[in-house]
């Protein structure tokens, strides 16, 4: 009993430590002071201010666009890569497995620098001194970061799959292509989904690769692409977190919380839902 209480206290203390910075930001999102720790009266003013701040909104938009596109590309490459590897000869599969492992274990800054020097190299030696850095180099950087994780989340799903399923589909008249769409893909769908989410979060969170590989953006053609990470970094180098960002933190936290609760509830209720679906449809 004593042990149990001790364990509970320990768990919640660490949890508190983990949440203090976030909770402080959330609490001070309801006051307009410049610094956290100074309470200048309760107000919602930071929230409208956040949505009127063009800089933050643009960065947020860039972040989401990059995250969506890069995770979609990562899922496409990672999924086809994993399926292809799984049905290749053993040695070819092992080779792809180990090359895929390089970006996973590599330090992000080394990956980022290696891409940067390659773009510099290609730009100066092949494109005669052209500057290649753009939205596209940034996209490549984010895909290098995420695709290996998509590959890793799909591979086990393929290994767990009954090899006869694909043959059964062919046997029942499906061409290899439709067997792939109707049987293999649905089987690895959970892996694809979790791979997409992982890729999405990796992209959202990324600072180093973005800084190293970015160039002028798609939307704002002249300047350099700012994402949330790079914008926040630029701001906090000069002073405390801008007050509007506190409101943004609160909103992000709420969205994440809703997603987690939603997924948990969905999983909990999903089991009973599926039955008698057709009966009702008819």
């Amino acid at each position: 009993m004593v042990k149990k209480i001790f364990a509970q206290i320990y768990i919640w203390l660490i949890l508190l430590f983990m949440y203090i910075p976030i909770l402080v930001l959330i609490a001070f999102s309801f006051t307009t002071s410049v610094n956290v720790g100074v309470w200048t009266g309760f107000s919602f003013d930071l929230y409208p201010a956040l949505f009127q701040d063009g800089e933050i909104m643009a960065a947020l938009g860039n972040t989401l666009i990059i995250a969506f596109i890069s995770s979609a590309v990562s899922v496409l490459l990672g999924t086809t890569g994993a399926i292809g590897a799984f049905y290749s000869k053993k040695r070819a599969m092992r080779a792809l497995d180990s090359v895929n492992q390089i970006p996973v274990v590599n330090a992000e800054i080394v990956m980022a620098l290696s891409l940067t020097v390659m773009f510099v190299f290609v730009g100066s030696y092949i494109f005669r001194g052209a500057n290649l850095f753009s939205f596209w180099t940034l996209l490549i950087g984010h895909v290098v970061l995420s695709a290996p994780f998509v590959y890793l989340s799909i591979k086990p799903k393929l290994q767990q799959m009954d090899p006869n399923l694909y043959e059964a589909a062919l046997d029942l008249g499906a061409t290899p292509r439709s067997a792939l769409y109707r049987v293999t893909l649905p089987q690895i769908l959970p892996g694809i989904l979790s791979g997409f989410l992982l890729a999405f979060t990796l992209s959202l969170d990324d600072f180093i690769i973005t800084t190293f590989t970015r160039g002028p953006g798609l939307l704002n053609g002249q300047g350099t692409i700012e994402t949330l990470s790079t914008l926040v970094q630029a701001k906090i180098k000069k002073g405390p977190i801008p007050p509007e960002m506190r409101a943004l933190t609160t909103i992000i936290f709420l969205v994440v919380l809703l997603l987690v609760v939603g997924v948990t509830l969905y999983r909990y209720f999903h089991k009973d839902k599926k039955h008698s679906r057709r009966r009702m449809a008819r």
Binding site: K4, L15, M18, I20, V110, T116, R177, T230, K237, P240
Partner: protein, 267 residues
């Protein structure tokens, strides 16, 4: 002959992508590490690195702070994962989710918040750069320890612990002899997941020490900002060698790549 669709052809685009943007860049790093600004072969970067007390110092400090962070994270995270994975103390998976949730808030934003809160509490990065950096590192990398440890601890065969107790081992002895050995792979992969990013991190040390502590990551970043590709590449190469060595050692410690992947998979 007609080229028929075969499933193995599907990996061609991914292969091409990895070769273009993972393998070739590494060779270009090696190229830049051993050339000078004019593109001629040169050992300048190597000589510069090993004769510069500042850079050697950066390497040593990076390794030291990496080890320290790893150790502290393990000391905090190990009992925590044990409690979370043990049905006697915790029946709730939601609690585990709570530990992962902060990771979904932007990492730079979280680091900034940590600095502001520490500043508020009086641990000013300008005055206590090392302490502030260490707290920031532990705060950021603790979830990376909890996840792999938690997953290995879930797999612990409880009957082994019971057998140890049954055979007359004290609870403490049963823990050290039946639980700890089974979690070794988790400990190794958790350490890898903390040590390497800590060494090469840029944002945390830069923000929390207000630029006063320079780690390997900061130095590479500085070379990047000044377009010093040769010295930057050489330092990245050093980092690559360290990672390669660590990988070699841990592979020999019989940790499978899958374990690490599972540890990283938050979903």
């Amino acid at each position: 002959m007609k080229l028929r669709f075969q499933r193995k052809y599907l990996c061609i685009p991914y292969w091409a992508f990895l070769i273009l943007f993972v393998i070739i860049p590494i060779f270009i790093i090696i190229y830049y590490a051993f050339t000078d600004t004019n593109g001629f072969f040169s050992m300048d970067a190597l000589i510069d690195f090993f004769t510069s007390p500042v850079k050697i110092n950066v390497l040593l400090v990076s390794i030291f702070i990496g080890l320290q962070t790893t150790l502290i994270c393990l000391i905090i995270g190990y009992p925590l994962s044990y409690f979370l994975a043990n049905k006697k103390f915790n029946k709730n998976v939601v609690l585990v989710m709570l530990f992962i949730m902060p990771m979904w808030i932007n990492f730079v934003l979280r680091t900034g918040a940590t600095r502001d809160v520490l500043f508020w509490l009086g641990i000013n990065g300008g005055t206590y750069p090392y302490l502030a950096t260490l707290i920031g590192m532990v705060y950021n990398y603790l979830p990376f320890v909890i996840l792999p440890l938690y997953t290995t601890m879930l797999k612990i065969d409880q009957s082994q612990v019971e057998a140890a107790l049954d055979l007359g081992a004290s609870p403490m002895r049963a823990f050290t002899h039946a639980v700890v050995p089974q979690t070794l792979p988790g400990i190794v992969s958790a350490s890898m997941m903390v040590f390497m990013p800590t060494m090469s991190s840029y944002v945390i040390s830069d923000t929390l020490s207000e630029g006063k502590i320079s780690l390997f990551g900061n130095t590479i970043y500085l070379n990047f900002s000044n377009s010093q590709w040769n010295t930057g590449s050489f330092m990245a190469l050093i980092m690559l060698v360290i990672i390669g060595l660590l990988m070699f050692v841990t592979r020999n410690a019989n940790v499978k790549a899958e374990d690490r992947a599972r540890g990283t998979g938050l979903w």
